[in-house]
């Protein structure tokens, strides 16, 4: 036992040290930073509750929060519906099934920066693919990324496109668990495909839907590279995201204490929203 104990400790030691240095210390220091003013050049000074007070009055921060909710309001329903539809379509004996699955999953493996640059080109007002297609069928082009009304929805659509393959896989895994016998029994009772879907499939997929909801929400709060590359947070700050603001405060304004405060606020918000979602849907699941 002593030899095993020693070996165990030796093997686990690198990770324990790593956790202390790169996880525990940063978490503690993040909270400490909330109470400091620091520009990384001069020594930090005590700030009391200045950062917190500033945050509660900071219009830019709250606009970013509002933008996030606009994003989520479009992204989440779109994500659930499209992932579910594709998964249900794929959940049967199909020719080339692996091909469809691979096609849908392709954008998931591509870097967010690349997808942002690509969609910048797709959404470009004059020479972008989407507007060219619209004009070709006789519709008017849209200033996707420069019109304040369409910028965030455009980004939400793009992020949905990027991630849908991932959620298709999640739903497919859930669909495997729905026994054929149950489906056939309902069919025999004369239910249509839609009734089957609504009363059997959908409720049984609730755990997956909760997962899609949670992960999409977290993803939405962490939005950074898309607005950074595509709009710089504009137009009129409509696509300004929380993480973009965090980054700007750290990298450009050199306000470490304030940036850390934003980080803590973000973590709390994510935790809060996810907890609420689980509470609401958890009770639905119990029913």
């Amino acid at each position: 036992m002593r030899a095993e104990e020693r070996s165990g400790w030796l093997l686990a030691m690198p990770y324990a040290v790593f956790l202390l240095a790169f996880v525990a210390y940063p978490i503690v220091f993040a909270v400490v930073l909330v109470f400091l003013h620091w520009d990384l050049v001069t020594s930090p000074s005590f700030a009391g509750l200045d950062n917190v007070r500033l945050l509660t009055h900071d219009g830019r921060f709250w606009r970013a929060v509002g933008n996030t909710f606009v994003f989520l309001a479009i992204h989440i329903p779109l994500q659930i519906v499209s992932a579910l539809a594709l998964a249900v379509a794929l959940n049967r004996r199909l020719a080339f099934r692996a091909f469809w699955r691979a096609a849908f999953f392709l954008p998931v493996v591509i870097s967010g920066a690349v997808v942002a640059v690509l969609w910048n080109a797709l959404y470009a007002t004059d020479v972008g693919l989407i507007n060219r297609l619209l004009v070709r069928v006789g519709l008017a082009p849209v200033a996707w990324l420069t019109d304040p009304r369409t910028a965030m929805p455009a980004i939400a659509a793009m992020v949905t496109w990027k991630n849908v393959g991932f959620y298709v896989i999640i739903y497919l895994a859930g669909l495997q668990y729905i026994p054929r016998s149950a489906q056939e029994a309902i069919e025999l009772e004369g239910a249509t495909a839609w009734q089957r879907f609504r009363h059997l499939t959908l409720p049984l997929l609730l755990p997956q839907t909760i997962l899609v909801l949670t992960l999409s929400t977290i993803n939405g709060f962490q939005l950074f590279i898309e607005p950074y590359v595509m709009t710089g947070g504009g137009p009129l700050r409509r696509t300004y995201s929380i993480v973009l603001y965090l980054y700007t405060n750290a990298f450009f304004y050199q306000k470490m204490g304030y940036a850390a405060t934003i980080g803590v606020a973000l973590a709390l918000m994510i935790g809060g929203v996810v907890a609420i979602q689980r509470r609401l849907l958890g009770s639905a699941e119990a029913r």
């Binding site: 220091f29 930073l33 870097s111 920066a113 020479v127 896989i169 965090l246």
Partner: protein
């Protein structure tokens, strides 16, 4: 009627698949188009040219960035595989005081949003003098909770008899891990390798914070800086720089898609 439904299904799936593949084809085609053709719908340029690629290559150190990304991603993946399996092995098969705590903490790490620790990590890097070094890009990623948990789950299933007979032969724990467990764990190792490598390859926020020198930038970072800084000048050039990132990934994906899907979907669900 059934056949009609079938046809509609295949048509719908084809249309859906096209929306995912067509943009990449159009992007590739655009990079080969001269300026007056950029923006057209054609997938085959009338006057194909490599000018966009030549411009991109001349304006920013993309070759260097490719090397940087490869170096960083490989180092991180190797470290995660080796150090991660050491930790996973200890957690799965060795009894030691504090093991339950370590396991609980590892699970807890998965709940922490990266943005919480981002700034303190950044200040730590600055204080260590690691700005604009490979160390900054690599060290914070040498170990990975998701990888450890995945490997642990696999290691738990290996029969104790194999370990017992190895120990009776006088093998030390590390030898048991690398000569017995590793060959058996190839699928799990492959899965961990893929999502770790891809995660590092695609990571852009962290490099944007800790690296300012263009010669040290990773590929997605240089792409971002290039696209934003106006260095591209035209859509053809900025898309050409995106192609440098995309092509190796797509090639690997075409051959290894099953592993990619299993790996990145599995890791995402656990994480």
């Amino acid at each position: 009627m059934r056949t009609l439904r079938r046809v509609a299904l295949y048509a719908g799936l084809t249309l859906a698949a096209l929306t995912f593949i067509y943009p990449f084809l159009w992007m590739a085609a655009t990079t080969l188009k001269p300026p007056f053709e950029v923006g057209t719908l054609a997938l085959i340029p009338e006057r194909p040219t490599l000018d966009n690629y030549r411009t991109m290559w001349a304006r920013a150190p993309f070759g260097r960035a490719l090397l940087n990304s490869a170096l960083v991603a490989t180092t991180i993946t190797a470290a995660v595989l080796v150090l991660g399996s050491m930790t996973a092995y200890a957690m799965a098969r060795l009894r030691f005081r504090g093991r339950p705590v370590l396991q609980a903490v590892t699970l807890g790490v998965l709940l922490v949003p990266g943005q919480l620790t981002l700034i303190p990590l950044y200040t730590l890097i600055v204080q260590l003098g690691w700005i604009d070094t490979y160390a900054a890009l690599v060290v914070p990623y040498l170990l990975n909770a998701t990888a450890i948990l995945m490997l642990r789950q696999f290691f738990v299933q290996i029969p104790q008899s194999l370990i017992d007979s190895a120990r009776m032969d006088g093998m030390g724990e590390l030898r048991i891990l690398f000569t017995i467990f590793w060959p058996l764990a190839k699928p799990a190792l492959a899965i961990v390798a893929i999502f770790t490598f891809m995660g590092s390859w695609n990571e852009v926020l962290w490099p944007l914070l800790v690296v300012r020198d263009q010669r040290l930038m990773t590929l997605p970072q240089l792409l971002t800086v290039f696209a934003l800084g106006g260095g591209a000048g035209s859509m053809g050039v900025s898309l050409a720089s995106a192609m440098v990132l995309v092509v190796p990934v797509v090639v690997a994906y075409v051959f290894l898609q099953r592993y990619f899907i299993e790996s990145m979907a599995g890791a995402g669900i656990k994480g």
